[in-house]
């Protein structure tokens, strides 16, 4: 993680992020069309989301629930009344010629998302959270003078989460996004996939001389489609602004697009005029007074959130901070880990297996593309049983890898595999001693060389004993007894 203070010399960046999160509801925000991704063009449309004459919006209860839970999970206040507003502009992917959003009276205000920095925990405050409908898609045909419009996405529910300009570096921005995404995933309200567009981020970036009070002019940066690109884009923009100021120029208040290939931001071709959205209260929807009893019910049902779970993993399982962070980045991974520990109480060993072999396989097989991993390569109870077999010396760590591979392939339980393939570790001192004796007898010259000082040959003897015992000799005992016999 970069050190904000030293990266930018005399300047400090001031960054605020605007995140749009697509909510995982079945239907759209204001109509009963499916909000699922990937349907045939305009298959998920109806007169309402198409903006036909005389149609009216009706609010999706679950979308509201998701919004309220997000507000609660981030410590926001939900004011007594929120108001829908129309944001008016013309674009082919905006069927009504206005977007139903919220303006002066958002759903929630004043929450916080915590971020770990080299200097400790930092609170990034949230300005507001509000709900709005998504627009459709314009597909520009390279060969044609025309665009094709698909309104499947028009009307899909979005949560807009706006942070205060509390973020001080590009790395902090990426960390904020990761933490926010984890919260949204834990709540099950958004799958946080930036590449697919279910979570989008715009950044407001300005710089000022370190210690100055007044904020610099800010630029809005768009078109960053991954955490990595957010970090790169913000970093590039900070440097661009510093260079401008250092050369005596001024930073223009404008919208800029990140170009990942060229590694720079470029100003958006200015439209004829800055858009005047002419916000006014949406007359087709009434004031939103969220039921207070319902809010408290939702609050009571909030799951353990990532930050709390991370801390508990350290405290309860004695895991290092790094392990806790990796394991709690996704709720389903944390659930898996805890289920395995419940089967066999060796958290550190299980942490290694999950972070290593399990997650590697999950990524290879792209099983983590959904919010909840549906088919794990190995069940948590079986993983626990495997580690138990290592811990009680039935098998060695090395043999365990072989057993694991077969568990993945056949789905069989580890104990069954060990028995069927006779992989039980050899722990009997006498048997190991006998095997060693045999190897020593067969390799007299090498024994001489070892005793003469060629220490490296120890590994050779180990290997030979392993060969003779089919890999099953307990490594520690083998080492002990071999060493004793060779030194005799």
């Amino acid at each position: 993680m970069s050190d904000a203070k030293s990266d930018y010399g005399a300047y400090e960046p001031v960054i605020g992020l605007e995140v749009h999160a697509q909510l995982l509801t079945e239907s759209k925000l204001f109509c009963s069309c499916s909000s699922a991704f990937g349907a045939a063009p305009n298959a998920h449309t109806c007169p309402v989301c198409m903006g036909m004459p005389g149609v009216l919006p009706v609010l999706n209860r679950r979308a509201l629930e998701f919004a309220v839970r997000t507000a609660l999970a981030t410590g926001c206040t939900i004011p007594p009344v929120a108001r829908w507003a129309r944001k008016n502009y013309f674009y082919p992917d905006l069927p009504k010629g206005y977007q139903i959003s919220m303006y002066e009276a958002p759903l929630a205000v004043g929450g916080v998302v915590n971020v770990q920095t080299p200097d400790g925990a930092k609170h990034v405050r949230l300005t507001r959270i509000h709900m709005e409908e998504d627009a459709g898609k314009n597909i520009h045909d390279a060969h044609d003078d025309h665009s094709l419009v698909d309104l499947n996405r028009a009307g899909v529910p979005l949560l807009e989460i706006v942070s205060e300009p509390d973020i001080a570096s590009s790395a902090e921005a990426a960390a904020y996004l990761r933490n926010l995404r984890a919260i949204l995933q834990y709540l099950g309200v958004c799958d946080g996939n930036m590449e697919e567009g279910s979570m989008r981020c715009d950044a407001n970036v300005s710089v000022r001389k370190r210690g100055a009070d007044k904020l610099g002019t800010r630029a809005e940066i768009k078109n960053m489609n991954s955490f990595r690109n957010v970090e790169r884009a913000i970093d590039s923009e900070i440097r661009r602004q510093i260079a401008l100021l250092e050369s005596g120029s001024r930073v223009a208040q404008e919208t800029r697009l990140w170009d990942a290939e060229r590694g720079q931001t470029f100003p958006m071709r200015s439209k004829e005029e800055a858009n005047d959205y002419r916000y006014f209260p949406e007359p087709d929807l009434l004031p939103l007074r969220v039921d207070r009893t319902w809010i408290e019910e939702l609050r009571a049902q909030l799951p353990e959130l990532p930050e709390a779970r991370r801390a508990r993993f350290v405290a309860q399982y004695g895991l290092p901070a790094y392990d806790a962070e990796v394991l709690t980045a996704r709720r389903d991974v944390a659930d898996y880990f805890e289920a395995a520990v419940a089967a066999h109480a060796n958290p550190k060993a299980l942490s290694n297996w999950v972070m290593g072999d399990i997650l590697r396989l999950v990524r290879e097989r792209k099983l983590d593309e959904q919010l909840v991993i549906e088919k794990w390569p190995v069940q948590p109870a079986d993983l626990g049983a495997l580690v138990a077999l290592i811990d009680d010396q039935t098998i060695s760590g090395k043999i365990a890898k072989t057993v694991f591979d077969e568990m993945v392939e056949t789905g069989a339980a580890p104990g069954t595999i060990v028995e069927r393939r006779g992989l039980t570790q050899l722990t009997d001192d006498a048997a190991i001693a006998a095997a060693i004796d045999g190897v020593i007898a067969q390799n007299a010259s090498k024994v001489e060389e070892y005793r003469a000082g060629k220490d490296r040959l120890f590994g050779f003897f180990v290997g030979q004993v392993m060969k003779v015992t089919g890999g099953k000799a307990n490594p520690q005992k083998l080492n002990e007894i071999l060493r004793a016999k060779l030194s005799a």
Binding site: C31, C33, R61, N138, L286
Partner: protein, 95 residues
């Protein structure tokens, strides 16, 4: 309240309404006259008055989250003046 031709042009652009020169001139004087009449509202002191955005004293009704609408892209797009399969086709957008 004076309305200039530039005002008319600016509003016409926001509203995406193309106006001919004659229409522009007529619109300018019409708007000026109407806004002149509307100016009488300034006579009222409304500082302490809440705006009425909705006369009905209710709160937003809620709908169950069910995707019950049938898939009928052809019917939905059938009114489009220009279409390409089930896409709606529009002229190029100059960014």
């Amino acid at each position: 309240m004076r309305v200039s031709l530039e005002d008319v042009d600016h509003i016409a652009l926001l509203a995406r309404v193309g106006l001919t020169d004659d229409e522009r001139a007529a619109m300018r004087s019409d708007l000026e006259a109407i806004l002149g009449y509307i100016a009488k509202l300034e006579q009222l002191d409304t500082d302490a008055v809440e705006p009425t955005a909705h006369v009905a004293e209710l709160t937003t009704p809620l709908r169950d989250d069910l995707a019950t609408n049938p898939e009928a892209p052809d019917a939905m797009v059938s009114n489009a003046p220009d279409r390409d399969r089930n896409f709606i086709r529009v002229p190029k957008i100059i960014e």
